[in-house]
């Protein structure tokens, strides 16, 4: 049981990655595809945040607790919080492309966008 809990967040992270990829490969709508890309992204967040966690430790904010109380790793939190906001805008960029795909190519189905063949 201990072994299982020890690995659980990372196993979930691996599952999210693969599930997101499955969603992308079988997608029939570009917006759905980009949301599945977001799912893949959350897998990396889970991995990094899981790696930085310390059992029994508090948040690395020392406004109310004295310096020296065990706190979790602030680095992964810092990396992830900027990443979340930033990747949201990268997804917005891809969604802008999706809107233009509907406008110019008339379809948001990735199967029908096979314009550039071989």
């Amino acid at each position: 049981m201990h072994e299982f809990l020890r690995m659980l967040p990372f196993a979930v992270s691996a599952w999210l990655f693969v599930a997101g990829l499955y969603g992308i490969v079988t997608s029939r709508h570009l917006v759905h595809l980009i949301m599945c890309l977001v799912v893949v992204q959350t897998s990396t967040y889970l991995l990094l945040l899981g790696v930085g966690f310390k059992a029994g430790a508090t948040a690395p904010i020392f406004a109310d607790v004295p310096v020296g109380t065990p706190a979790v790793d602030p680095i992964t939190h810092a990396l992830m919080l900027t990443d979340i906001v930033v990747e949201a805008t990268v997804m917005a960029l891809l969604l802008a492309l999706t809107i233009q795909a509907k406008e110019r190519a008339g379809s948001v189905d990735p199967e029908e966008l096979r314009i550039l063949r071989g």
């Binding site: 693969v18 310390k54 406004a63 790793d73 602030p74 810092a78 919080l81 802008a96 199967e111």
Partner: protein, 260 residues
Amino acid sequence: MTRRFRNLFFLASAAGFAVFYLWGLHLLPGFGHYPGPYGDVLNALSVYERHATDVITAVNFDYRGFDTLGEEFILFTSVMGANLLLRKQKDDKEEDPPLDLARDRLAPPTSDAVRVAGLALLLPIVVFGIYTVTHGQLTPGGGFQGGVILASAPLIIYLCGDYENFKRITSHVVAEVAEAVGAGGYAVTGLISFIFGYKYLQNFIPLGQTGDVFSGGTIALISALTGLEVAAGIVLLMISFFRQTLVYRKPGEERGDHHA
């Protein structure tokens, strides 16, 4: 490749990938047993060196400030890119007045409850956003979180009213300039360090008292600039998306065709 064959091919590859990934993952130290020195060193040092009690913000805007500069410019570039991709084409016409309509029905007007709730929330949201941005070095917060909160204010206006109200309070030019000032300001703050003979992005503002709002040196300044940039960037995204969906029409397109 036929679709079925490709999906099966993918499933087989994904199974292999998952096995491989889990093989590596199970050798990690285990959830709750963070081993490494980096986080612990910074937890011990940040308050004394930076007079900032929120170690995460100190890491974001000082210790690893250069990373955050890069991230901020990713946001800036993506917003500029979305702006570029959703621009008005030569043959597009502007719909006047722009109306959010489906082909076969009129959109119901927003209910009074929504409007009252939205307007009541507006001021607290703006205040809370500014609080989050300026108190980032003390408590959880900072430019990124506060900027997103601030950007939700124009969105509430749109949700409670309609596009006309949104257009009245937002301006494409102002959002663009604000975003560029925020991003450029961050890069320039680093350059100012050169004047003092320091390395790029090294702190040059007096650190102040721990626990004060104006503590942390450049952390507070950079946090404010980031908040400005994130808020302006997200508002600019909203403006571009709304214009493309509601205003611009290709030749031959009828009102409401977007919602087919």
